[in-house]
């Protein structure tokens, strides 16, 4: 572990000293030993704070949308494989330019769920990581300027745990049953929009919920308002969401947002053969079309 931190710190020091970047976004120790938090390093002498471990749950790409962070110009950022996919989408969508970013990739074999970590969990196993980690296809970040190898062993899978099994369960339900399920979930929503703020790809400077001529989304916290918000969030991320799961982790009332995101990703892949975040040069799925696109639902 110390080895990783040393490497991270060396890369960061070099980047800052050579003035290749003016800011490094990384992780440092948090409120308790099982929590990590983002850290912003601007001076070479502060790089000792940088660290990475199985509790580095945050997707730091989220900070690239902040005006305060953009002001730094050239930025170095520590990313896991899943987080890096967000960078790719941000580049596809002209929000980040490759030349302004130094990607310090960290190989990752999974991060421990924060709710468990808060209760003291330190073991990395199929029972303690996020579903996204069990399905991860990008343990090594796709794009990177530096790469730090993984300290953790690969998680062994017993086969008993099926990630996102709930999606199939919901798919097999009747619309009434699904409705009951989601009504209960959305009823919890307090419209804090933390799902939006935690998402690296929700970068609009004025979100559609803040547009009031017309009022696209009801402002109330009632059944329709909450459903509308959760629907449009998922819709606007369909074909873009890279599955980092930050929305669900942030949600203070535990709405299973990754079920919806996961379902959308599956639909996009089934219908259009597209997976977001894998190819920085790909055209986004809603920026193109094919004459032979799925038409069966149209009379």
């Amino acid at each position: 572990m110390a080895n990783i931190d040393e490497k991270l710190q060396k890369i960061a020091r070099d980047l800052l000293e050579s003035k290749e970047v003016s800011l490094i976004i990384g992780y440092t120790g948090g409120s308790h030993p099982q929590r990590m938090r983002p850290v912003f390093i601007t001076k070479p002498e502060d790089v000792g704070r940088l660290s990475f471990n199985r509790h580095s749950v945050q997707d730091l790409a989220v900070f690239l949308k902040k005006q305060e962070v953009k002001k730094f110009g050239r930025i170095g950022i520590v990313v896991k494989g899943c987080d890096e996919k967000a960078l790719n989408v941000l580049m596809q969508e002209y929000q980040v330019s490759r030349e302004n970013i130094k990607i310090i990739g960290v190989e990752c074999n999974g991060v421990i769920r924060q709710d468990l970590a808060d209760k003291g969990e330190t073991d990395l196993s199929e029972n303690t990581v996020y579903d996204k980690c069990l399905m991860c296809g990008e343990h090594t970040p796709i794009l990177h300027d530096y790469l730090i190898e993984c300290a953790d062993p690969q998680i062994s899978m017993s086969g008993d745990i099926k990630p996102f099994a709930k999606i199939e369960e919901l798919d097999s339900m009747s619309s009434e049953e699904k409705d009951v399920f989601w009504e209960k979930e959305f009823d919890k929503c307090i419209k804090c929009y933390a799902c939006r703020q935690a998402c690296p790809l929700c970068y609009c400077s004025r979100c559609i919920v803040e547009k009031n001529v017309p009022q696209w989304i009801d402002t109330n916290f009632g059944k329709i308002g909450n459903a509308q918000w959760n629907l449009i969030r998922a819709y606007h991320l369909a074909g873009r969401c890279i599955g980092c799961g930050e929305c669900e982790r942030a949600c203070p009332v535990n709405i299973p947002l990754m079920l919806i995101n996961g379902k959308m990703a599956r639909s996009i892949h089934d219908l259009f053969g597209y997976k977001s975040g894998l190819d920085v040069d790909a055209k986004p799925v809603f920026g193109v079309f094919s004459e032979s696109d799925f038409n069966d639902f149209i009379k």
């Binding site: 329709i224 459903a227 379902k263």
Partner: protein, 150 residues
Amino acid sequence: MEDKKEELAKTSGDNDPRIIAFVCNWCTYSGADLAGTSRMKYADNVRVIKLPCSGRIDPMFIVEAFKKGAKGVLISGCHPGDCHYISGNYHSRRKYAIFRNLLGFLGVDLNRVEFSWVSASEGNKWVHIINEFTDKIKSLKNGSNDIFKK
């Protein structure tokens, strides 16, 4: 509470459901006009909102129509390849396909949403689609109480 019950009773077994149709100006609206000039008859439950192109018809309109109380929503544009604006219907088709999956996943009865391509010459198809959709909406179990139904 009593009021609510009465309201429910009024809406249950809806024999006069409202259907909102979002249509493109060039094909479907003209097709609907053709049905008129040909004096074809069809169900009067539909209220048409005209837009330039199906490319302009945002899937979120469906939600607004449901919110307003429409029992069914129809979106209709030019056939693939015929779009007056070259590719508006192609771009929208992708969005509709996904949005429809999303609605279904969240528990909306997909019988309430219909999509069609109706050309300017297909007055009869327009009539058929409206009649069939209206019948389908009327036959829906009123118990289906999805998230955009008051």
